[in-house]
Symmetry: C2
Subunit: 359 residues, 2 copies
Amino acid sequence: MALTGLMSELIASTIEKIGPLDQLAMREARARQNRLTKPPGSLGRLEELSVQLAGIQGKSPPRSKDKAVIVMAGDHGVVAEKIGNWPQAVTTQMVANFLRGGAGINVIARQIGARVIVVDMGVAANLGQYAGLISRKVGYGTGNMAEGPAMTSLQAVEAVEAGIELVTREAGKGLDIVGTGDMGIGNTTASSAICAVMTGRLVAEVTGRGTGLTDEQLQHKIAVIERALAVNQPEAVQPMAVLSKVGGFEIAGLVGVMLGGAARRIPVVIDGFISGAAALIATALSPGLKDYLIAAHLSAEPGHRILLEHLQMEPLLSLNMRLGEGTGAALGIYLAETATRILAEMATFDEAGVSEEGR
Amino acid sequence: MALTGLMSELIASTIEKIGPLDQLAMREARARQNRLTKPPGSLGRLEELSVQLAGIQGKSPPRSKDKAVIVMAGDHGVVAEKIGNWPQAVTTQMVANFLRGGAGINVIARQIGARVIVVDMGVAANLGQYAGLISRKVGYGTGNMAEGPAMTSLQAVEAVEAGIELVTREAGKGLDIVGTGDMGIGNTTASSAICAVMTGRLVAEVTGRGTGLTDEQLQHKIAVIERALAVNQPEAVQPMAVLSKVGGFEIAGLVGVMLGGAARRIPVVIDGFISGAAALIATALSPGLKDYLIAAHLSAEPGHRILLEHLQMEPLLSLNMRLGEGTGAALGIYLAETATRILAEMATFDEAGVSEEGR
């Protein structure tokens, strides 16, 4: 544990609670899938997903009634290096948009019947006036990672703990499945840095155009990330240190959501590249966590495919989306609900009086 | 028109009604997408889909409130050649299952809020006792295509007309988007035959294991289809004749649903391989129809990829499903609804007070 970087009792005990999937529930789910009125395996990944969800929740059929997307927002000091086109104020403006229900994630969450939980993990502005916003602010934006660590080790711990506490609190209200979402101008830059370190790939391979960069701007972004890695020297064997050196407050919070969700046996549907970067850290802290994660979609950011391959996870959707906010995760939650409803509601051969001769 | 095979006034006039997409509505949709609070293009295929839907319906934002999946059932005389493992009686048993709400399509349709319309196009049994079933029975199963035509030219016309009339009637009740589904023991065999003729590919390339064949059974299925093509000599330039020679009553009905839907400017979401075979015929009858179709998913049947490439259509989902019934189409309808809701409900930069500086 000493090798992971600075830890805390809450983080360590949460990791300890993450056990293996429930094999009995998975056997039950598999057996029921094979009794449903369809050729065995003909619902493909929806069948596998139902079995995974049963194993996570420890019951077959699993539940998918109470759904939430946790959208964590944070700002990034590395914007001082001009790695993107959007002004930092957009983070705050989008938080306000989330709270008024006008953003992409609000629309999809309404459609799938999920609540949206908006969390200020470290926006670079005072957001005290926003009703409905959960404040777990660790700082007013991270430091510029091109010049030093993005945050202190203690801040990284505080942010991860905030995520654990938040998902635990939501579990108390009823939470069958949770999705992760993010907002933070500059956070593809931090995510590319994390991805390069944790996968061992070149920065150029895992860095994309974010919200829309030119070729020249992309080269600059790559150079800035390379500088951040040279300055901070993060190492994959110390995931908490990677998080503090080149991460972000919202990314650290999402690490906590993943750890806390898995510890409570709640399936965690991960969104795109930013959530994927958090998953790289979270699974490095707890390899068994991976079984609790569901990759919702393949983002248009090039690093996302690389990190999913590294995690050996196959996304459910590939719609060329790159918005973040948990929009992909919300669609993944919907497919997870399809999977649970298929298992719970479809008639068996016996019930329907359908011949099983062909099986 | 003489070259297409036998026609009818209803089919010809329906084809004539299929016009180009509404460019003005598409421009409006595109313009609104670019004013929504997200980086332009960041919702990927959902954005493109919203534009297509606007063009089809001729309004922006398009509607997605009234949804239906039309599941057409029919039997296939070619089962006499033992091309599959499931007894023909399963077609009837599954129709009963659809009507009781216990099948896969019922579960997903309930989840997405769509009505399921079950149609007897030609099941080889008397289904008069089933309440809720729409009977447009053209015959008691097709003839064995390995020995002669599956149906007469008149039967093919009758089945296509039934599909046109059905979707037109449903449109009268309110129908913003429709999905196609099928049930019919033996219908992957007919679909492979259609696919081979219409795409010009080898039978072996477009023939799969259906509900689960061994290698030896697959070779037999291929040989049977090759015999059907040798006996009937269908030619791609006569799509109606292809339909009557090696098609199926439910496949012909789905051709009608596609033509009739497009003529009423209703988006038609096509399911897997069987619906794809119907789309090959329908788009050969009316090339402009393609713009009205949305490919929901990539089926596990190998011919499906080939026919989608032939149609130059990219499926929205790839979940290794191969159940039919419209299950993939239902999920595609859901994503279409996501696309329309995004366009209708997301706030614009102006409304949300979000900076557009980075655009």
